[in-house]
């Protein structure tokens, strides 16, 4: 609230008198860092994307950044008994099965994968595929530096139920549209954390999928600080999709939508990182936002996250 007031004040007062110009700031030599985007789900191989961070005010080529890949690293994942050196694979030459996973991960269509030349390190040994309740260590060796991390696939916590509810009350009542609702029974262990993905299976009039992949709504991750050991109801808005048509009301599922909910148990540290990353993406450099770095779980000076997901799926039909 106070922050909102602060915003209001500054914006209102500056609107009248201020002027703006682009500047470059003298930043004392920026050292690019390795960025880790690694994940492991139960029943799936570990995938690790390696990219780099870039100097803010340096010359940057966006296409290059988007397709950035750090090649030639040695990436090893171990569950304590099995140790696997991940294979470096690129989108143009992905084995079947892995391609869909990668497409989903990147938020692109499988068919578009070839357009990008995206590469990742992928586990190929079945024995290293994710198992619930196990911890996985990650070791990356690149240019004489070692980066390490550990994550765990937490015990599955399935939603008790999911449903769609018309938005008949409230400030703008509608009968055709509503939010997704769920009941969750949080276990009596602290620091449980969750992440919610959703994907509509419907297609539009052109036959295109409305949601080509699983999408994240606003505030997709939460922990049990206030809900430990409680059974409670909660709602999520529909995540925005690029393929939204005129009939799709922002934030709402329409009557007739079929939605797959991917509900994940995550570690608390993973939740904190994801929450921070979401805030940063929303703030987009606002001068009033607190200048805090995302709390990485990677040791050794890299950025990013190594995350285990315990996934359960539910299907919701809006009717």
């Amino acid at each position: 609230m106070r922050l909102l007031l602060t915003y209001t004040f500054i914006v209102l007062s500056l609107a009248m008198v201020s002027c703006e110009k682009e500047i470059s700031i003298d930043i004392p030599q920026y050292d690019s860092k390795i960025v880790v985007d690694g994940r492991i789900e139960q029943g799936l191989p570990p995938i690790v994307f390696l990219s780099r961070s870039y100097e803010f005010f340096g010359e940057t080529d966006l296409t290059q950044i988007q397709n950035d890949h750090v090649s030639g690293a040695t990436v090893v994942v171990s569950n304590g008994t099995v140790t696997d050196t991940l294979l470096e694979l690129c989108t143009q030459s992905l084995p079947p099965g892995i391609d869909t996973l990668v497409a989903e991960f990147l938020g692109v269509d499988v068919s578009d994968l070839a357009l990008f030349n995206i590469c990742a390190y992928v586990g190929t040994d079945l024995a290293i595929f994710g198992e619930v309740g196990k911890s996985y260590s990650l070791t990356i060796d690149y240019e004489n530096t070692q980066y390490t991390s550990t994550t765990r696939i937490p015990e599955l916590v399935a939603l008790d139920s999911v449903w769609w509810e018309k938005n008949e009350s409230g400030s703008t009542p509608t009968t055709d549209y509503g939010f997704s609702w769920a009941i969750l029974s949080d276990p009596d262990t602290l620091s449980n954390a969750y992440r919610w993905y959703a994907r509509r299976l419907n297609v539009d009039q052109n036959g295109d999928e409305k949601d080509p992949q699983f999408l994240l709504p606003f505030g997709a991750q939460f922990d049990d600080e206030f809900i430990n050991n409680q059974t409670f109801e909660f709602a999520y808005e529909r995540p925005n999709s690029e393929n939204d048509g005129p009939d799709d009301k922002r934030g709402y599922y329409r009557e007739g939508d079929t939605v797959v909910i991917k509900f994940c148990s995550i570690e608390f540290a993973v939740c904190e990182y994801l929450r921070s990353a979401e805030t940063q993406a929303l703030n987009a450099g606002s001068p009033f936002a607190s200048p805090a770095n995302n709390p990485t779980n990677i040791e050794g000076g890299a950025l990013g996250l190594w995350a285990g997901y315990g996934v359960t799926y539910d299907t919701l039909i809006a009717e």
């Binding site: 609230m1 002027c19 703006e20 200048p291 805090a292």
Partner: protein
């Protein structure tokens, strides 16, 4: 307490006892009847002197005999007289201004710079401030203060200031002894002090004496005019954004006087006709006003009563009829002081003051049937007595007490939708506290060359109930608990010793060395989110979590006057250690106060600052002004910020240079100029970025590790005084006769930011376009506030 008694005893021993007679009285301006403080009175035969206290009272005790005295006050004709002191004599002295028309550059005693024990103390003359360039034509004493070495501006056009690496809440701002909690209007662009109502001000940056307490870094003591005891006068001014009017005069000649001064901005009224009535924003606007008033009554030579008050408000309104959305944000201060001066005898003077001070901020919003209000503020009721005792010419003793009852409203919300109350006015969370202090100090000559000022202050702070402490459980949120304190119950008690020391050693008549040390406590705090001082900032007390801020400062200086006190120069160095400083936790978004305490969002750390200040000032002649330069370093260390590593404070400025000059060309024209250069503020910016899950993420560097571009600006002004004499042809004789004009007036032309420098106000990162579409651009943007701004003000007096 033991130590206090010990010091008291020590002083009493030092005070020499012997058969003495006393000369005492008040020193006044003959034309207005107002008392002149800090006037010097010197006894030729005894080669000793004293100066009047802040209420114009002086006292000098000597062996019986006949003596010659000289009374000197800059801008006034010196007086000398001979008096037989075979018995005690009461003598009120009226000084005559040297030249009424001439610009009077008042100052402390001309050689006070080298003779006094005060360190880091500067008095500023209001008349001089008035001829300096003024931002948008508004004469602002706080902006002039910022031109002094060791004092830094909080930002472009901002009245907020930082002293020697201390925070903005560490400045004690007093208006007729009442604490002013928010000294600025409109986001800090203007101060609340209307220069027409102010008679003088003094800032102490370093070793503040024991009669001041409650803030770590500085004391800005502002005195309101008393009002003319002889004649009625009206003065005022018309400016671009505001107008002022002051009325003063006697209620009963020589006995009672009054002054009332008002100021109001009128942007809202001026633009009103240009907003069509059907415009959705019709009814939106902003204005502020202040009102200063004072009445005085002299019952006798022994008793005087003053009643003074300040009342000021900012009101911001925003109406959007289309969406039926209305916002009203009023905030402001109110202070009142009732002072009683009493003279027990020739040597003992007491001033007792009862003070009320209130700062209030409100945010009221409504949309359709939904209403929301937020309230925060602080209210003080204060009683204090300050005694001045002159046992001998060598000693000047002060002692007294101070008691304050604080009522804090850190921030409370009330909300209502039609008839449903979500939060009630009665639920407004208030925090109560008692603050008190006792002090004793002696300013005395040990030898001809050595003068000491020893002081001791003991302060105490007690937070009392009713109060509810919310205790978050770090491991089990369900185990969050509350502790309730009943009415009057002690929640937390703090107290601390505050020794003060300063000394002056005269090398010769024109140079001296001074040393100072101060240890002090601050029990009330301001948590700021944004780098600019906003009315949304919240004052709150020390509590179980928030310990009092503690400061230890040592300073040393070399003072020298040149050319018979025409030039005053000084070099001061200081080191300051601060404990229990406050910041919001990293990533904290201070949210509603419902079911939580403000201090649960805070984190605590320490800091230090050191620096050197160079100052040269010319106070007489056609050209007057000063140049100040400060080199300083200010660091902070918080366990929970920047991974515990030390970082520069936001207002760490390595170099800070300011120059101020006014030049009196002739009786018609006076010119003014000011220049300031400061190292850019320390900021934290993203230094790198990366992509995670398709989104741009920032990598921030160390806290405050980057610098904004340097701040520099020049302002100029010219003041034209209309000829006070008008020539007229006498119709009868045909001769040209000269006649005095009834109205004196002047025009002040100012240009702010002469060379149109775009100084950074803040810097942010602008992210445009869409990363998936490949249209994303990232750039650093600097927002600057004020371009070159000319202004004109017309001032009149009759």
């Amino acid at each position: 307490m033991k130590s206090l008694a010990l010091i008291l005893g020590l002083f009493i021993c030092l005070v020499s006892i012997g058969q003495k007679t006393t000369l005492s009285g008040y020193i006044k301006d003959k034309t207005t009847g107002e008392f002149l403080f800090s006037t010097g009175i010197y006894c030729v035969e005894a080669e000793t002197g004293t100066r009047a206290n802040e209420y114009g009272f002086y006292s000098l005790s000597l062996k019986p005999g006949t003596y010659k005295f000289i009374v000197k006050y800059p801008g006034y004709k010196s007086q000398s007289f001979e008096i037989d002191l075979s018995e005690d004599v009461r003598l009120n002295i009226d000084l005559v201004p040297e030249n009424m028309e001439e610009l009077v550059i008042k100052d402390t005693k001309t050689d006070e710079n080298v003779k006094g024990t005060d360190m880091g103390k500067v008095a500023i003359d209001i008349e001089q401030v008035k001829v300096l360039p003024a931002f948008m034509g508004e004469v602002d004493i706080l902006k002039t203060v910022q031109f002094l070495p060791g004092v830094q501006s909080a930002g472009e056009g901002n009245s907020g200031f930082y002293v020697r690496g201390g925070g903005p809440d560490q400045n004690l701002i007093l208006l007729d002894e009442a604490t002013v909690y928010n000294a600025s209007h409109l986001f800090g662009f203007f101060s609340v002090f209307n220069a027409d109502a102010i008679s003088g001000m003094e800032i102490t940056k370093g070793g503040m004496s024991a009669n001041y307490g409650g803030r770590l870094s500085s004391v800005l003591d502002i005195k309101m005019k008393e009002g003319n005891y002889q004649d009625f006068h009206m003065e005022g001014g018309l400016g671009l954004i505001s107008s002022r009017l002051t009325l003063q005069g006697p209620i009963k000649k020589d006995t009672s006087s009054f002054i009332i001064s008002a100021r109001r901005t009128y942007i809202d009224i001026l633009i009103k006709p240009f907003i069509p009535e059907d415009n959705a924003f019709n009814g939106s606007g902003y204005y502020f006003y202040d009102l200063n008033a004072k009445v005085n009554y002299r019952f006798s030579d022994k008793d005087r009563l003053y009643l003074s008050g300040y009342f000021g408000n900012d009101v911001f309104t925003y109406n959007n009829d289309r969406d039926n959305f209305n916002v009203r944000i009023p905030w402001g201060n109110a202070t009142g002081s009732l002072r009683w001066n009493h003279l027990f005898n020739d040597k003992l003077f007491v001033n007792t003051t009862a003070i009320y001070s209130d700062y209030n901020f409100q945010f009221q919003a409504s949309q359709s049937q939904f209403e929301f209000a937020l309230l925060s503020g602080i209210r003080d009721i204060n009683l204090k007595s300050d005694f001045t005792y002159y046992p001998s010419p060598r000693h000047n003793i002060k002692f007294g007490y101070n008691y304050v009852f604080h009522t804090f409203t850190p921030s409370s919300v009330s909300a209502r939708s039609e008839d449903v109350e979500f939060f009630d006015e009665d639920d407004v969370l208030r925090i109560y506290a008692n603050e008190g202090a006792l002090y004793f100090m002696d300013d005395f000559d040990v030898t001809e060359r050595l003068r000491l000022n020893l002081g001791y202050r003991h302060s105490i702070f007690q937070q009392i109930g009713p109060f509810t402490r919310y205790i978050p459980d770090p491991t089990n949120p369900l185990a969050n608990s509350e502790v309730d304190y009943g009415r009057g119950k002690t929640v937390q008690l703090y107290h601390g010793p505050e020794p003060r020391f300063s000394m002056r050693y005269s090398i010769n008549d024109s140079s001296s060395i001074k040393l100072g040390a101060v240890h002090n406590y601050q029990y009330v705090h301001l948590a700021t989110i944004s780098p600019v001082s906003l009315p949304t900032d919240v004052w709150f007390p020390s509590s179980e979590l928030v310990k009092p801020q503690i400061n230890t400062q040592v300073s040393a200086g070399y003072f020298r006057n040149f050319k018979e006190n025409t030039y005053e120069a000084s070099v001061e160095v200081y080191y300051k250690d601060m404990r229990n400083l406050i910041e919001y936790k990293e990533g904290a978004e201070p949210s509603d106060n419902v079911n939580d305490n403000v201090d649960n969002n805070l984190t605590f750390g320490k800091g230090y600052s050191y620096g050197a200040e160079f100052f040269i000032k010319k106070s007489t002649g056609k050209l007057t002004g000063w140049v100040g330069y400060t080199w300083s370093k200010t660091m902070r260390q918080f366990d929970e910020i920047n991974e515990g590593r030390e970082f520069p404070a936001r207002y760490d400025r390595r170099h800070d240079l300011s120059a101020v000059a006014s030049y009196k060309l002739n009786d018609r024209w006076t010119f003014g100029a000011a220049f300031v250069y400061a190292t850019g503020s320390a900021i934290t910016l993203a230094q790198g970025f990366y992509i995670y899950e398709g989104q741009i993420q920032y990598e921030f560097g160390d806290r405050n590790s980057l610098r904004m571009p340097a701040f520099h600006r020049a302002d100029i002004s010219a003041t034209y005084y209309t000829n006070p004499i008008k020539k007229k042809v006498d119709k009868v004789t045909g001769e040209i006769v000269e006649k005095e004009r009834k109205i004196e007036s002047n025009w002040n032309f100012s240009i702010y930011n002469l060379y149109n420098r775009a100084n950074p106000y803040f810097i942010y990162i602008d992210q445009d376009g869409d990363i998936d579409a490949g249209t994303l651009t990232i750039s650093g943007k600097q927002v600057s506030l004020f371009p070159i701004l000319p202004s004109v003000t017309w001032n009149f007096k009759f």
